[in-house]
């Protein structure tokens, strides 16, 4: 996948060399941050073989809370805390529904999608939250080595996540629960707790994304982060995180998110009007999963041929 990304950039570069400038590349990185964070949160849920279609709404809700509290005069730190709590709460509600009420994840999160979007509009009263204090927009302007602060911060989050899923043993529970839930239960793994944490994390990451989003855009519309959940799922799928659970890496999810954002930027550089964004995103998703399917089939065929041509057939005792 990462290869594809690089290929994409290079290809566009041929048409419009401006894209290959460091500044442009950094711009793309910057623009992808929100999606990367949301995708990372979604990743945990998908690991456990679940799905969360409300993460975009959770991000929006957290952003609305952030904006509202800031405008009420709350100090930045406290406002951010409020936003994060909102995200965690939103995720926890999903977690509760899925693990305790045993509502299928797609239904539960579809329901909370409606609820959170509705809440967003109710709280904002249908208008935009503007005139946010500078304190929240400032971090957007900080930079180090020409790279914006948020990019570094997100990178740090990504690194921590990647390290944790690889090295921290309980993190492997996500994979186990998704790969074989019954097996995990019989082995004594804390299945419900793992699932609960997954959905709650999704909410937390959504809130993190909300902070970045608000800071970057500077205001919160009532349609904030609309449709991001679907893009986050697509990002995960593109990045190799299987919807049937048990496989994938944070890096993959992040690259997938980057890819989706990059496509958008590519189109701009190629002079294609933004209206075609969705069409290309969808087409690419379809092409990628189709290619993945063919690849897997070819590999399997290869293995079978090798076995036939190898010893005279017969595997196992």
């Amino acid at each position: 996948m990462a290869l594809l990304l690089i290929l994409l950039v290079v290809a566009t570069g041929f048409v419009n060399p401006n894209i290959l400038r460091f500044k442009s590349l950094v711009e793309i990185l910057n623009a992808s941050l929100t999606l990367v964070l949301i995708a990372l949160g979604e990743m945990f849920v998908i690991f456990t073989r679940g799905i969360d279609v409300s993460v975009g709404a959770a991000t929006g809700l957290a952003a609305v809370i952030l904006g509202t509290t800031l405008n009420l005069g709350w100090p930045v730190g406290l406002a951010i805390l409020a936003a994060l709590s909102t995200g965690v709460l939103a995720g926890a509600v999903n977690a509760f529904g899925v693990t305790f009420l045993r509502v299928p994840p797609i239904i539960m999160t579809l329901g909370t999608l409606g609820i959170y979007r509705g809440l967003m509009r109710i709280i904002t009263g249908g208008s935009w939250i503007e005139n946010l204090p500078q304190s929240i927009k400032d971090p957007n302007l900080w930079g180090f080595l020409g790279v914006p602060f948020f990019v570094w911060a997100t990178f740090l989050v990504l690194a921590v996540t990647a390290w944790t899923t690889l090295r921290f043993r309980p993190a492997r529970f996500f994979y186990a629960v998704g790969d074989n839930e019954q097996g995990a239960y019989v082995l004594g793994l804390p299945v419900r707790a793992t699932q609960f944490v997954a959905y709650t994390l999704a909410g937390l990451f959504a809130a993190l994304a909300a902070v970045v989003y608000t800071s970057q855009i500077g205001f919160v519309s009532m349609n904030a982060a609309d449709g991001y959940e679907l893009k986050a799922i697509a990002a995960n799928v593109l990045g190799g995180v299987s919807l049937t659970g048990g496989a994938g890496t944070p890096l993959g999810a992040a690259v997938g998110a980057l890819f989706m954002t990059a496509v958008h930027s590519m189109l701009i550089f190629l002079g294609v009007p933004g209206i075609w964004d969705n069409a290309f995103a969808g087409l690419i998703l379809l092409l990628v999963v189709y290619a993945d399917y063919r690849l897997r089939r070819a590999l399997e065929l290869q293995r079978r041929q090798a076995r036939i041509l190898g010893e005279g057939g017969g595997s196992g005792g």
């Binding site: 074989n180 239960y185 082995l187 804390p190 079978r304 076995r307 005279g312 057939g313 595997s315 005792g317």
Partner: protein, 501 residues
Amino acid sequence: MREGRWASVTPLLELEGVWKVFSGVPVLKGVRFSLEPGEIHALLGGNGSGKSTLMKIIAGVYAMDAGTMRFKGASVRVDSPSAAHALGIYMVPQEPHIFPHLSLLENLGMGLPYGAKELSDRVRPVMEALEFHADLFEPAAFLSIAQQQLLEIVRGLLREASVLIFDEPTSALTFREAEHLFERMRRLAREGIGIVFISHRLGEVMEVADRVSVLRDGVMVLEGPTEALTPHDLVRAMLPEATDVPVEPTERRGTTGSDPVLEVRGLSSEAFRDANFRLYPGEVLGVAGLVGSGRTELAEAIAGLDPHARGEVRVGGVPLRRLGPAESQRRGLVYVPEDRHAHGIFLELASLYTMTASILPELGRVFLSTAKEAAVGRRFVDSLNIKLHSLWQPAGTLSGGNQQKVVLAKALATRPRVIILDEPTRGIDASARRDVYRLIRALAEQGVGVLLISSELEEVVELSDRVLVMHKGRILGMLEGEAITLERVTEASFGNRGVSA
């Protein structure tokens, strides 16, 4: 060795009056069971007797509906596997639970507090002792069934448990691997660990167990030290009627001069090579062989389920294009799969719907005729002696034997000329088994060609007119007439040539 038993110590486990009900059907009815430290206790029972259920209750996977359980004298409630693990009770399940995307090493260590290095240090000697050779870092999806079973056994051996339960641990293992396992079990018993060992192989039980308990229909019917019991006692306890069933002697039919109804030439695929044989109408051709010899793969290829197979298959002289089961059925060939739950039956739907699943086009051109469908169902309920109170009750509420009959009905409804039965009597009770045997004979008499794949060699020997033996993917040879004996078939399954071709 049976010495070294720890006398006059509180039993590790004591269960009294255990009841368990599933979907309105009592599976365990007031069972008592006990386990002493350092004892190897075998649990026997036919299919559906409840032995797995009882063990799952002990291991925390199920909760008992009534009854008490004491562990080391103290009353306990084990309501989850982790609660069981905390007490030191661990069960090695019958069906392996694999995490296909994770490596073998991770699979082994899941749930254990060891880091990667310490884990592999602990794992390697255990695997060596069992002669389990596999790459620790490959994803577990690539393991064979036997390897998966060994994986589960290693998991059990890695745990510091005071009670270890093995549920049918040897069903996919070779004799050598089983022997290694028993050696380990004896060693653990000597250290004071209590072991429960579920099996249906009397030989193993008599060899390894100190005490035996027999469960039948959810009730404990026999319990005592193995020294005091004979295999016959055990068989009679498990199936009181079956031992006295008069087996009608089959006359072996020689192949008459008629044309073969099924011809297989040079069929090859991943799991088997170069299959060649003929099946004649009215003949029962048994296919014997060990697990993994390729029999099911051969059958699936014949039926058109394997798109990668090469070679020729002819039904009634007409070559099959092997496009799929639909085409095969149109030509008169039907395959009854080995794993009825996964491939044969629609548990949540009406039993009738499974029966008619393959012949729906015959029930009406545009709209389905309920009358015709019900008639089909009633026909098979009668002819196959299926016990149900309504054609529309969900197939999942039927017993294993009746479920198998429903799957057979589905196949028979296609009016086949050739029927391939893959392990048709697996997991069904004795009377259903007899019904299936009667069916096979009746089919043969009607001129249907029957290909019977079975791991129950007695069954193969009893029913077949000729026997094909497969070993590691190749057909070793054909046994005919007088040559069909249990010894010859068994030996041939293990690859001993000396079987006439």
